[in-house]
């Protein structure tokens, strides 16, 4: 379970997160949406301690991110993360990208790590791309390798930061299919995305953020058919355009 309690964060004088509260239960899929600059990506980065915050706390399975005694590296092992621009290691093949952390962090043998990696490549639908370098993969393929890289650490949680917004339209589906599959398989997921089709299919809860606050929350139907705030109405009108 991830608990976010009165989280506040500033970049200098600028407050990016204001009193964010949220509880994510095991097995849930939470979709976060909102206009750019609303603090969605920063929120994800606070959860795994990539960004420090000044007030409030986040606990992951009871372990506090704010507590200076917490080993953040250990914490990150159980939270996989997928980035907008894939961020694969360009000097390594798909397989090497996936096996690096299991071998260096979990100290798995190469054989075990590679076996796992091949299973994952199979699962994301590109078993034949193991020895290909990122620059020779399409965007959709790169993102699927990135998902496999995150899954290789056998995380309990997965976070997605606009995983399809850098992709050409025809590649979005192949990535979403992997994510839907993952959500239906019981993974606990936090997804920053504007893909409303994805939200409809798997989201247990939708958060709408604006200016660093969660201004609306609810089920897909509640949010989509009956947004309460004007900001949410405007936003929905824009993305459905």
């Amino acid at each position: 379970m991830i608990e976010i309690k009165k989280l506040n964060k500033w970049f200098g004088d600028f407050q990016v997160l204001v009193d964010v509260d949220e509880v994510i239960e095991r097995g849930q899929t939470v979709v976060i949406c909102g206009p750019s600059g609303s603090g969605k990506s920063t929120l994800l980065r606070c959860i795994n301690g990539l960004e420090p915050f000044q007030k409030g706390d986040v606990t992951v399975d009871g372990v506090s991110v704010a507590d200076p005694k917490t080993n953040l590296y250990k914490l990150r092992e159980k939270i996989g993360m997928v980035f907008q621009r894939f961020e694969l290691y360009p000097h390594m093949t798909a397989l090497q990208n996936i096996t690096l952390a299991p071998m260096k962090v979990r100290k798995w043998s190469r054989r075990k790590a590679e076996e796992k990696a091949r299973q994952l490549l199979e699962r994301v639908g590109i078993p034949d791309k193991a020895d290909v370098y990122p620059a020779n993969l399409s965007g959709g393929q790169q993102q699927r390798v990135a998902i496999a890289r995150a899954l290789a650490m056998e995380p309990d949680y997965m976070m997605f930061d606009e995983p399809t917004s850098a992709l050409d339209p025809e590649m979005i589906k192949e990535v979403l299919d992997v994510m839907i599959d993952l959500a239906k398989g019981g993974m606990t997921m936090l997804c920053v995305t504007h893909e409303m089709g994805f939200a409809r299919e798997v989201a247990d809860e939708i958060l709408f953020m604006d200016h660093g606050r969660i201004v609306e929350r609810g089920t897909y139907e509640g949010f989509f058919n009956n947004p309460k705030t004007d900001r949410a109405k405007e936003f929905l009108a824009q993305i459905l355009d």
């Binding site: 993360m81 980035f83 961020e87 290691y89 000097h91 952390a101 962090v105 370098y133 995150a150 650490m153």
Partner: protein, 238 residues
């Protein structure tokens, strides 16, 4: 053509002048290589200092680069050669001035220190061209800071900056010519000496130009092999 000038290309191979040029080339290569080793080691260190989170180290790295690259190498060599020993006090400076081949040592160190400032800039640019999300992606898999630099960031950054480093490597050999001003008998010095001896400086310097050209082509060929070996597959636009 006003003045009649009798060309004598024989100075390029006639004894002892051909030998002078070869000896000069030897010294050019030796000084260039030694200076390059200093430049690479120090440059990577200072380039990394400039992205650490310790303000004092960052400040030192920036100051080093700004000072060393904004003073002509010639002035730096003069300073290290004439003023350098004096910085150690009178008794020690007299001893230093008696070191044989002092000018060669000074030119190796001077060119090395100068080139390090340029290498440091490339290293810093290499780190900077790797996006913040790339660093965070490594950390999100549970790796530590040191693992992140060792397995991902440094190998990646060094591969990215091979092309500019090739240019710097070439420049080191060209810059060794400035050591002639403190009396180092490298290639340019020797071609000038031939003029003093024979008044055929035009032929001698023309010959030296072609030797530098061959040296440059060799260095580029060598670096192409290095680059091919460490090339990141499919990455274009570099």
């Amino acid at each position: 053509m006003g003045l009649t000038y009798e060309f004598d290309w024989g100075v390029l191979w006639r004894y002892p002048y051909g030998m002078w040029l070869l000896k000069g080339l030897g010294l050019t290569i030796a000084i260039g290589m030694a200076a390059w080793i200093i430049a690479l080691a120090l440059g990577i260190l200072i380039g990394t200092l400039r992205i650490t989170r310790y303000r004092l180290l960052r400040w030192f790295g920036t100051a080093y680069v700004e000072v060393l690259r904004n003073i002509p190498l010639l002035v730096q060599l003069f300073f290290w050669f004439y003023a350098g020993p004096m910085l150690f006090g009178e008794t020690l400076s007299r001893k230093i001035n008696h070191i044989s081949g002092l000018n060669i040592w000074v030119s190796i160190i001077g060119i090395g220190l100068y080139t390090a400032s340029r290498v440091a800039e490339h290293v810093r640019a290499g780190f900077a061209s790797i996006g913040r999300d790339q660093y965070q992606a490594v950390l999100s898999t549970g790796m530590t800071q040191i693992q992140m630099y060792r397995y991902v960031i440094i190998p990646y950054a060094l591969r990215l900056i091979i092309p500019p480093l090739t240019t710097e490597f070439l420049t080191v050999f060209k810059n060794t010519s400035i050591a002639m001003t403190i009396g180092v008998a490298e290639l340019t010095f020797q071609s000038y000496q031939i003029d003093a001896d024979t008044f055929h400086g035009l032929e001698a310097t023309t010959g030296a130009m072609f030797i530098y050209l061959i040296l440059g082509i060799t260095v580029v060929k060598f670096m192409n092999i290095v680059e091919k070996k460490y090339k990141i597959q499919g990455l274009v636009g570099r």
